[in-house]
């Protein structure tokens, strides 16, 4: 086999707060009908890779059932290999350990090159030019890198390169970044070389067994000529509530930077087989995406509506992301709300009005005035919730909660 792609899908996504309470980050719905992992999987399908393995860990059940043995991505072929490899010996200690624990499987397929991907990113990318670049540079290791704003660079691994794009320095989440070129978590390695690195790393006691934290600094320190492949397309690390929300606002923009409508690069997902959305009465949707199976009677502005969601009469949904199978009741008003799936917001509820007050439990997670409602929660008739409120999964909320409240499940 020439190329085997390994998709690391173990992320807990703690910075997505109540959205990932019982859901792995790659399983979180994105863009109405998709889940985050669909982007990496669709990129693999369009890049025509013949071997794909997904390595889940945290909350794997929903992820495995969504991936459905790769069928929606056309991975079920007689001449290609698809596998889901959850931990089978012990819990994966880090991204490198996840690959290390599956050496047996990779050896069995004998790939020349292993492509390491993350299931946490929203982007459209052809991996074939990256693999070609690796050949041209005659390198054993290549990472994909993109530029982000200087303020955000500290969230990532930053990369410093020379004029030939050779990686000179690698800093994992630096407080004072020296570069705004960041590691996208996409690596290509010659398998023989990576195998060596992993075996070496596995016995190092001080190692966290992480590609960004351990393997790459070691590659750079060893003087190995490794290169950065620059990617200048849209790339979103759905790491935080803010980036999750901004990613959706990008989609509703008149000319979105992420083009879901490119017929040559469709995003595939496990289909829900639902009828087309229907608009009844005076309902309206402006700068909005509405997914299949939805019924719209109310008014929606700059929002993304998930599958099979019901927006009832006179409801007002503004700059919000409504998860699938949810209900927004008559006259309810939602401003900057993100909900998980199957959330019931009863008649007359108002969410997202008031002062911006830091969240009482996790002020670093619930920012930018966004209120987040975990899946299966119910907001009872007439309740009022302020800004930056978090509602746990399955909570039943009744009453008035000011901004910054954290509402637990009873």
């Amino acid at each position: 086999m020439k190329v085997l792609a390994l998709i690391l899908a173990g992320g807990t996504g703690t910075r997505l707060g109540v959205l990932t309470e019982t859901l792995a980050k790659p399983s979180v719905y994105f863009g109405g009908k998709y889940r985050i992992i669909d982007f990496a999987l669709s990129n693999c399908a369009h890049s025509q890779l013949e071997g794909i393995a997904i390595l889940p860990q945290y909350r794997p059940v929903e992820l495995i059932s969504h991936v459905a043995m790769g069928r929606p991505w056309d991975f079920v072929r007689r001449t290609s290999y698809f596998a889901v490899l959850p931990p089978h010996k012990e819990w994966y200690q880090g991204t490198a350990d996840a690959v290390f624990q599956n050496i047996e499987y990779i050896d069995y397929l004998k790939p020349d090159t292993v492509l390491i991907l993350s299931a946490d990113h929203v982007y459209l990318m052809d991996y074939r030019p990256l693999l070609k670049y690796m050949d041209l540079k005659n390198a054993r290791a290549v990472l994909a890198a993109t530029t982000v704003s200087w303020e955000e660079a500290c969230r990532y691994g930053t990369v410093i390169t020379d004029e030939h794009e050779r990686v000179l320095e690698f800093q994992e989440k630096p407080a004072e970044p020296k570069s705004n070129l960041v590691n996208m978590g996409i690596y290509a390695f010659h398998w023989s070389y990576l195998r060596e690195l992993l075996l070496e790393d596995s016995v190092k006691e001080e190692s966290t067994h992480d590609f960004g934290g351990d393997i790459w600094p070691r590659i750079v320190a060893s003087g190995e000529p490794a290169y950065a492949y620059r990617f200048d397309g849209y790339w979103l690390d759905v790491g935080t509530i803010k980036s999750f929300w901004e990613g959706h606002m990008d989609l509703v923009a008149p000319f979105p930077r992420l083009n879901l409508y490119d017929p040559r690069w469709k995003i595939y997902t496990n289909p829900a087989d639902l009828p087309s959305p229907i608009f009844l009465g005076s309902g309206s949707a402006r700068s909005t995406l509405v997914s299949e199976g939805s019924v719209v009677k109310g008014n929606i502005l700059r929002s993304v509506i998930g599958l099979q969601t019901f927006i009832d009469d006179d409801a007002e949904v503004v700059e919000s992301v409504i998860g699938p199978r949810s209900y927004v009741g008559k006259g309810a008003k939602l401003y900057r709300v993100i909900t998980g799936e199957s959330v019931c917001i009863e008649d007359g509820v108002v969410i997202g009005e008031g002062e911006e007050v830091p969240n009482e439990v996790a002020p670093q997670i619930y920012t930018d005035g966004i209120t987040v409602i975990g899946r299966n929660a119910t907001i009872i008739k007439g309740s009022h919730l302020g800004k930056q409120v978090a509602v746990q999964e399955g909570a039943v909320v009744n009453g008035v909660y000011g901004s910054g409240a954290f509402i637990y499940r009873q």
Binding site: Y261, I267, S276, A285, S291
Partner: protein
């Protein structure tokens, strides 16, 4: 009792021309994302009836393309599955008689025979139960002269086929001539049903009825399976207005849509106006174009500021540019 299915899709009537010039009625695009045959196929599959034969005309390219990937209806099976039975059939009796091999090889005892141009969403378990409870030879749904669906014992079916193989129509000729010797029961149901080959009026009425949520749900609930095209959710831009309409995935809507059905991957640009119309898939309505009472077939384009306004229905054939 176990059953297998048979769908008549070979009949190429021209009652909806120009829509039926390029496809048989069973292949007509309906409700934005489906084809007529999806409704009978899905009703079968949901009832666990997974050996299904479809008789179709050898020239029905559109239907063959639609059914190409059987996995979309879960019919890519080692035992049973979807059997495409192409031919030049003279009538329903001929379509069955020329496929007696398929009928004989089916292990199931009952045959449910459906017309592919009928749109309905039915629970076939109820029909089978009724058929058994009444100890009927044949149980049918719809018009006694021209049913939408009927159930018959496989061996009785084969007997009739061989006894009357020179006749054309299974129901109107063969069954009619032995009607008095058989126990024929009618299964009545209140679910909405539309036989599209009846004509344009039925086709249009189906779509306008579906703009009522109860009818739409009755027709589409519990999954109607169809050929996937993997489009993103429909996008509505700042300039759009939507009233009492169905808008499918992959659409980008900037104009004003009233009381209409818009098929997958269509574009209605800002300033365009669409009322009481049915747009099939991949239609483009450019800036300022106005459509009232229009049925636009696939890949039609309405150039900027063109008007197609009439009190009668206007049908625009496939790939036409107005």
């Amino acid at each position: 009792m176990e059953a297998f299915g048979f769908i008549f899709a070979h009949d190429w009537v021209h009652s909806l021309d120009p829509l039926t010039l390029v496809r048989p009625a069973a292949s007509l695009p309906v409700l934005g994302k489906y084809r007529a045959i999806d409704f009978s196929l899905s009703s079968f599959v949901r009832a666990g009836i997974v050996r299904i034969g479809v008789s179709l005309d050898t020239e029905a390219v559109s239907l063959l393309d639609h059914l190409r990937i059987a996995s979309q209806w879960d019919l890519d099976k080692k035992e049973g599955g979807l059997f495409i039975l192409p031919g030049k059939y003279l009538g329903t009796l001929d379509a069955l008689f020329k496929n007696t091999t398929f009928l004989r090889r089916a292990n199931e005892e009952l045959a449910i025979i459906a017309w592919g141009d009928c749109v309905y969403n039915i629970d076939f378990h109820e029909l089978i139960k009724y058929h058994i409870d009444k100890a009927a030879d044949i149980t049918f749904i719809g018009d006694p002269e021209e049913p939408y669906i009927f159930v018959i014992n496989k061996f009785l079916l084969l007997e009739i086929l061989f006894a009357y193989k020179d006749l054309r129509d299974f129901w109107r000729d063969a069954v009619a001539s032995i009607r008095n010797d058989l126990r024929i029961e009618q299964f009545t149901t209140t679910i909405p049903m539309y036989k599209l080959s009846d004509g344009l009026e039925t086709f249009y009425r189906l779509h306008m009825d579906a703009l009522d949520l109860d009818v739409y749900r009755a027709l589409t609930q519990n999954m109607i399976l169809t050929k996937l095209r993997d489009f993103p959710p429909a996008k509505f831009s700042t300039t759009c207005r939507i009233t009492d309409s169905i808008v499918s995935d992959g659409c980008i809507i900037g104009g004003h849509v009233i009381h209409s059905v818009v098929g997958r991957n269509s574009v209605i640009r800002a300033g365009a106006y669409v009322e009481n119309s049915i747009l099939m898939q991949d239609v483009v309505v450019e800036e300022g174009a106005r459509l009232v009472n229009v049925i636009a077939d696939r890949y039609t384009v309405f150039r900027a500021n063109r008007e197609v306004i009439s009190s009668e229905l206007t049908v625009i054939p496939r790939e036409h540019v107005i």
